[in-house]
């Protein structure tokens, strides 16, 4: 399913736009303008980016059902991969914050539910990122591939929980994410997929 020429610019634009914050973050880090605690700052920003992009990728289907626009479906994969990229970066920077101590990370994952759920969320996204190519769809068969990719729902739930438990006192950010998720699922429920209904 190659997109017609008119849409050639779309996925590259989403990819470049989505990677822009990473480039700015790297530039800020090199200029030393991330503030007094740069690692903490980078950890927070990459985590938030991962969750926002994951939500955007989940918004594609509801948006298509509401509007019948063709473009949301075309950028879903790019958004999902960007979310995985930032989630992996988030873990990498956290590991850097632990002086790259894998044992400290393992302890944190085992002992602290806040870290456990975040790690699980990334773990669930890993097979999705690995099977994001058209060849994987063909190899797995569309039905199995779709079932596998439903892992994104527990992943986004765990990631939201991770964010919720991670903030010190002000739950505004996590609350916005929860409300966004509720809205997305409400749209899915109120505007069911008609194609699926017929078969």
């Amino acid at each position: 399913m190659k997109p017609p020429g008119r849409w050639n610019w779309l996925v590259p634009a989403v990819s470049v736009g989505g990677l822009l914050p990473a480039a700015v973050l790297a530039a800020d880090a090199m200029r030393g303008v991330l503030g007094a605690n740069p690692i903490k700052q980078a950890t927070h920003q990459t985590g938030q980016l991962a969750l926002i992009l994951l939500l955007l990728s989940l918004a594609c289907t509801p948006l298509r059902r509401l509007t019948h626009w063709p473009w949301p479906a075309r950028i879903r994969k790019a958004l999902g991969l960007l979310a995985f990229f930032y989630a992996a970066l988030h873990l990498g920077i956290y590991l850097l914050d632990q002086d790259l101590s894998l044992s400290q990370m393992a302890q944190d994952i085992l002992k602290r539910p806040f870290v456990t759920v975040g790690f699980l969320a990334l773990l669930l996204l890993l097979p999705l990122a690995l099977t994001s190519t058209p060849r994987s769809v063909a190899r797995l068969g569309f039905a199995r591939w779709t079932r596998l990719h439903r892992l994104v729902y527990p992943a986004v739930g765990l990631a939201t929980l991770h964010y919720w438990w991670g903030v010190k006192k002000d739950h505004t950010g996590p609350l916005i994410v929860v409300l966004g998720l509720i809205a997305l699922f409400a749209v899915r429920w109120l505007w069911p997929d008609k194609r699926k209904r017929k078969t």
Partner: protein, 337 residues
Amino acid sequence: MAKLPVQREGDEVGADTAQPNLQPATSRPATSRREFLRSATLFTATVAGLGGGLELLTRRPSGAEAAGKSAAPLGRVKRPLGPYDTSEAVTPYEQATTYNNFYEFGLDKSDPAQNAGSLRTRPWTVRIDGEVRKPQTVDMDTLQSWFPLEDRVYRMRCVEGWSMVMPWMGFPLAALIRRLEPTGKAKYVRFTSLHDPAQMPGQRSQVLQWPYTEGLRLDEALHPLTFMALGLDGRALPNQNGAPLRLVVPWKYGFKGIKSIVRITLTSERPVTTWALAAPSEYGFYANVNPAVDHPRWSQATERRIGELSRRQTLPFNGYAEQVAHLYKGLDLRLNF
């Protein structure tokens, strides 16, 4: 963007009538040029929209100029380190005054430096009451004149896992308490911060119960390390660091160091303290720095000294165990965290 998919070549209204010499629908070079420009425009707009939107949502601008940089010098000469001072490298003034937890001015570390300009620190009075023989309301300048100013270079360990070395100026709290003559019933000291949402915009949100209150056991308050700061690095305390008067208890987590104090009350009952009230399972009354007792969400075994690349081991009582551990003999520090 919504209209674009339904637009078709040749649909352009007005193009033919306005410029009849151009035939857009059939002339191939013109169409492909327009097609290219159209794609380029949409590409740029999408990159800017998505990238800019993500930046707007997640990037925290830093490097707020320290509001206290122009603070008046307190006219003191640096003296050699005293018995309570650490010889560790002092945290740069720029970082110590732009990376602050002071929720009265916002939740981000950079918020206090940006927003604390609205705090008026003169005239300022401190009410002193409770179990004292000389209850009174004293003007800040008068209070300051009661004691000779001392320098104290202390480690400061935040409960969030980072630390600084701060060159405070001020006077020991013990000197103030002795002057007030506590009664026999005094067992604790309660401190209260200013509560004025007009000056402290963060108080308009109910993220904590205002005013911020903190407390110490009387023996902790009388310990020679316990300090009332009104200056930093030879200058008047910047607003974002707790001007005009703040508490410094170097063996406890930073949130015990209540800022912008307007009231000091000696009590017979243990005071309710703000963070212990907000999250009792995470923050206790004692809040002694203790690498063996983790925060539920992170380890307290190590800390990041601001400006350093790798983490440091956190020391019991923040390295002041020799001076203060005896205060807690027989107390289970796991339960009384």
